[in-house]
């Protein structure tokens, strides 16, 4: 005799209604695999390729009351679906980047300006942030991007046009760039 799906859902929604949840999340299917999508009262705070690790990170960053509340991420899920189906080029979402440090934040703000379907390099992004010699640090900032795909770190590549790296794995980076129609071969022959 276990908890019914209905009772389980009612508890989750009551918890959310009473404002007792620090982070609400759900899992979402996508062409790049199952994603964990998490929001706080301020906005979207995490998209993760490894849901299990992400729960502990979220508890550390935003508070231990991390609870799966599917309807709270409905809007993000819808925009992601549209993006992955090629029907959306920009996201219209509030973001919560409160745990992100100052340099990391500047890098992510600049990253957000890289347009759909285009790529830039770690060096170029470093120059825009005002630290032209910090390409490596920018690489680190991209690697720790809490909201991949919405903050498009897949659009940042090496100066030789190589994909270089991606926290979610290079095959995901390539898939996202192909989806956006970014043709690396012509950009970097």
């Amino acid at each position: 005799m276990n908890v019914s799906t209905d009772l389980d859902r009612r508890f989750r929604e009551a918890a959310d209604r009473e404002g007792l949840v620090d982070v609400a999340y759900d899992l979402a299917d996508s062409p790049v695999g199952e994603l964990l999508v998490a929001v706080t009262g301020r906005g979207l705070c995490r998209i993760a390729y490894r849901p299990d690790d992400a729960l502990d990170e979220l508890a550390g960053d935003f508070g231990t009351r991390v609870l799966r509340v599917p309807r709270r991420v409905d809007r993000v899920r819808r925009e992601l679906d549209e993006y992955f189906e090629g029907r959306r080029r920009e996201f219209d979402l509030e973001l919560d980047l409160t745990p992100v440090g100052a340099f990391h934040r500047e890098a992510l703000d600049e990253l957000a300006r890289v347009p759909y379907g285009e790529v830039t390099t770690y060096g170029a992004l470093a120059a825009k942030v005002g630290h032209p010699k910090s390409a490596r640090a920018i690489g680190g900032a991209m690697n720790r991007n809490p909201i991949p795909s919405v903050l498009p770190c897949h659009r940042v590549v090496g100066s030789n046009g190589k994909l270089v790296g991606y926290a979610g794995g290079l095959e995901r980076k390539e898939l996202l760039l192909k989806l956006e129609g970014a043709l690396l071969d012509t950009l970097f022959p």
């Binding site: 005799m1 276990n2 009551a14 009473e18 007792l20 508890a59 231990t64 609870l67």
Partner: protein
């Protein structure tokens, strides 16, 4: 004396681990229909007190105690004149065994407060949530229990 600190898990993991056991306990005591409201109330109380926890040990004992108190509160609401003779049961654990013989004659609330505080090392805010009262009320219940035990020892 101090146990190694156990990290407090994200609430989802705590909930997923204990929800079925809590529901079964409530259904056994109250029937399935009424157990549903009590189930929700139990985990809402746990969620309210969760930020007050200082470590992740004894979370099962804690949530089962909350569930029993929610059940007791429901019976009291329905039959306010009937005194509940049944003491609040606590899980049989080594930490509890040390205190059991001392506390088994205390009134239920005092007993739960003393055991959760001194055997399970939970903070008063979390005990208050378990007992459906406040941090202050939990502190008072524990100290009343301890005073009662002291008086008994000296007589």
């Amino acid at each position: 004396m101090m146990e190694a600190a156990v990290t407090i898990p994200p609430f989802e993991r705590f909930y997923a681990e204990h929800r079925d056991e809590v529901y079964r306990l409530l259904a056994r005591r109250m029937g399935r229909q009424r157990a549903e409201d009590a189930f929700q109330e139990t985990f809402l109380r746990a969620l309210r007190a969760y930020p007050a926890l200082r470590h992740g040990t004894h979370l099962r004992a804690w949530v089962l105690t909350i569930a029993r108190n929610v059940a007791v509160d429901a019976f009291r609401r329905e039959q306010p004149t009937v005194e509940l003779e049944e003491p609040i049961e606590l899980p049989r654990r080594p930490a509890f065994a040390q205190l059991e013989h001392l506390t088994d004659t205390l009134p239920p609330t005092e007993r739960a407060a003393v055991v959760l505080r001194y055997a399970y090392d939970l903070p008063y805010a979390a005990i208050g949530a378990a007992l459906g009262s406040s941090e202050d009320a939990a502190r008072q219940a524990a100290s009343a229990g301890v005073r009662r035990l002291r008086r008994r020892e000296t007589t």
